[in-house]
């Protein structure tokens, strides 16, 4: 894990500064009817790491993703990506700058084929300009290259059999896979994944997490929301915990479950149910 590889790593406290931070959030706030759904004082995501964002239902994880990716307007705050201010920018410009997100409720393009869903995501396509669209020789070569890459991704995500089916015919898990593959097709610097493995069968999820780890080693930065603690423990280098819109804890996955703030975050909701191992509130009772 990168955090371990680079020595002792940042201190496990919320809002800690990190070396080589790619995404830096400052005072990001969003209220719905007077209630702060998100209020993050400071959060940094380190370049080349996989960060898990966890927290109980309604903690504000999706809202935070919506803000950072430009789909929702904050009531205050600023954030930079690779040193550039991104707040106030439109979603497509944020995506073009290399920060690509997926959605908790999948957004597949139903009446396009699976292959077309992937091809759409390829960045900087010449044939997408109206002036060039009529002149196929201008974009055909590039399109062929995109097709080859899309086919590789489809094999990797076991969607190759469904290549020419309408995306609307896919199952829920297959849609999750398609959306993740599509996000990768966009060649992002950083991915924001909202519960990417929800509904995906565990074996395939493991293999895809392996793939994401490999991409991380090649320089991709990932921040993902996940409720399954096995997945969080398995792939993340760093865990950030949200509750009630705030960032309540941060730390390496091995120790995050022992953090009393994390336990508190989950306690409010389910103090008598066993949690998945990492954030098991009963551990605290035992102490």
């Amino acid at each position: 894990m990168t955090a371990d590889r680079t020595g002792p790593g940042p201190a496990p406290e919320p809002g800690v500064r990190k070396p080589g931070a790619l995404l830096v959030l400052d005072g990001v706030r969003r209220c719905f009817g007077g209630i702060a759904a998100v209020h993050v004082e400071h959060l940094e995501v380190q370049r080349g790491t996989i960060t898990a964002l966890i927290g109980p239902n309604g903690a504000g994880k999706t809202t935070l993703f919506n803000l950072v990716s430009g789909f929702d307007r904050p009531d205050g705050g600023r954030w930079t990506f690779a040193g550039r201010r991104l707040d106030g920018r439109s979603p497509h410009r944020i995506a073009r700058s290399g920060l690509v997100r997926t959605f908790q409720l999948t957004r597949t393009l139903a009446r396009l084929t699976v292959l077309e869903n992937l091809l759409l995501a390829a960045p900087a396509q010449r044939g997408e300009r109206l002036s060039a669209a009529l002149f196929a020789p201008v974009w055909r070569g590039q399109e062929r290259a995109h097709r080859a890459r899309a086919d590789e991704l489809l094999v990797r995500f076991r969607l190759d059999r469904l290549r020419d089916e309408y995306a609307g015919t896919l199952s829920g898990g297959q849609r999750k896979l398609l959306e993740l593959a599509r996000a990768l097709m966009a060649r992002p610097q950083m991915l924001l994944l909202d519960e990417p493995m929800a509904g995906v069968n565990p074996a395939l999820a493991q293999s895809l997490l392996g793939h994401i780890t490999q991409l991380r080693d090649e320089g991709l930065t990932v921040c993902f929301v996940e409720h399954d603690m096995d997945v969080v423990m398995g792939v993340s280098d760093w865990v950030a915990v949200m509750a009630g819109g705030r960032l309540v804890a941060e730390g390496p996955p091995a120790t995050i479950g022992r953090n009393p703030d994390v336990v508190d975050a989950y306690l409010g909701r389910r103090h008598d149910e066993p949690e998945a191992d990492g954030a098991d509130p009963r551990r605290r009772k035992g102490r």
Binding site: F103, T108, E128
Partner: protein, 330 residues
């Protein structure tokens, strides 16, 4: 009762100049609605500014036909920008409201007494198509096969009209099968997803609105030339709904959908009309049940019935795919 006359009438209408006009306007609407998912309920407004742009330039300002065509196209461009700039960032419904209002506002404005010095008011404008018919290579006479015959002027409009349909169809086919078309079709499915992948959805919707609007203007000009007059009341809101009818009939989101739809729409409409008139004339339908003056209304009632049956039994239209339609959420 003369069946061959009824059939000849229907064929003449199905392949006639007005069918070509409606096919072109509906191809524009197909780009909006069938491919981009834009709800344009004012395609007739684009036809109006096109037709009037041509007529006003020639009659009121004394310009040439070519200048008039440019003015007609420019008017459609301006109209598309005016409609799109404020609404395309909002939910789909807003464009629908703006377009339906704009179509009707334009008609009332062009027929107002205030605009009469320029637009001819309720009388409209005539005698602007001379340049067009001067280009007609066919000597006067009647041409055709069997009982389906056209005058040289109509034939000239048809030749130009169906050639335009062919060229526009080819260009649109190239466009929608390009990466540009892929973005357009994706916008139809889910614009949020398209935005998240770095595409400027607003710009694409605007481009689609402009192109489809220009096609509307082309249709409006051809119609004005065909009837050799522009009159505000021939740009009734109902025209837009006929366009939707034939688009759904032929199959939205198919290049040939509006073409097949237009031919069939005019064929059926005229067939019913002509058959009713013949039946009344021959006393098969007593004239106190339906009189000849009521045929116009009755044929639309029958078309409405046909449309209900179509939506019930083949909602995807003639060329559409049922599988694809069931996946759509519209």
């Amino acid at each position: 009762m003369d069946f061959s006359a009824v059939l000849a009438d229907a064929i003449r209408s199905g392949i006639g100049p007005i069918a070509a006009v409606f096919a072109i306007a509906a191809m524009g609407l197909n780009l909006h609605f069938g491919y981009t998912g834009l709800l344009n309920f004012g395609q007739v407004g684009f036809m109006l500014v096109g037709g009037y742009g041509l007529a006003i330039t020639v009659v009121t300002w004394g310009g040439s036909m070519w200048l008039g065509i440019l003015v007609g196209l420019a008017s459609a461009l301006v109209l598309a920008l005016l409609l799109g700039l404020p609404t395309l960032r909002l939910r789909a419904d807003y464009l629908a409201i703006a377009t339906i209002a704009a179509g009707e506002t334009l008609r009332i404005f062009y027929r107002s007494g205030w605009a009469e010095p320029t637009t001819g008011g309720v009388f409209g404008l005539q005698r602007f198509a001379g340049d067009f018919y001067a280009l007609n290579p066919m000597p006067p006479g009647r041409y055709g096969l069997w009982e389906v015959r056209f005058g040289a002027r109509d034939l000239w409009v048809m030749l130009v009209g169906w050639t335009l349909v062919l060229v526009i169809g080819l260009l649109l086919a190239l466009l929608v099968h390009s990466p540009w078309g892929r973005v357009i079709r994706s916008v139809r499915e889910d614009e949020t997803a398209v935005r998240s992948l770095g595409k400027n959805v607003y710009a694409y919707k605007m481009q689609s609105l402009v192109i489809g609007g220009l096609l509307g203007a082309v249709a409006g000009m051809l119609q004005a030339i065909q009837v050799q007059s522009v009159n505000p009341d021939s740009f009734d809101p109902a025209v837009t709904f006929f366009l939707y009818t034939l688009l759904v009939l032929g199959g939205a989101g198919r290049i040939l959908g509006p073409v097949v739809g237009s031919v069939l729409f005019w064929f059926v409409l005229t067939f019913v009309d002509s058959a009713l008139r013949q039946a009344i004339g021959a006393g098969i339908v007593p004239s106190d049940v339906i009189s000849t003056s009521e045929v116009g209304a009755v044929r639309f009632a029958l078309v409405g019935l046909a449309l209900i049956l179509l939506v019930a039994f083949r909602p995807q239209g003639i060329l559409g795919s049922r599988k694809e339609m069931l996946l759509g959420d519209r």
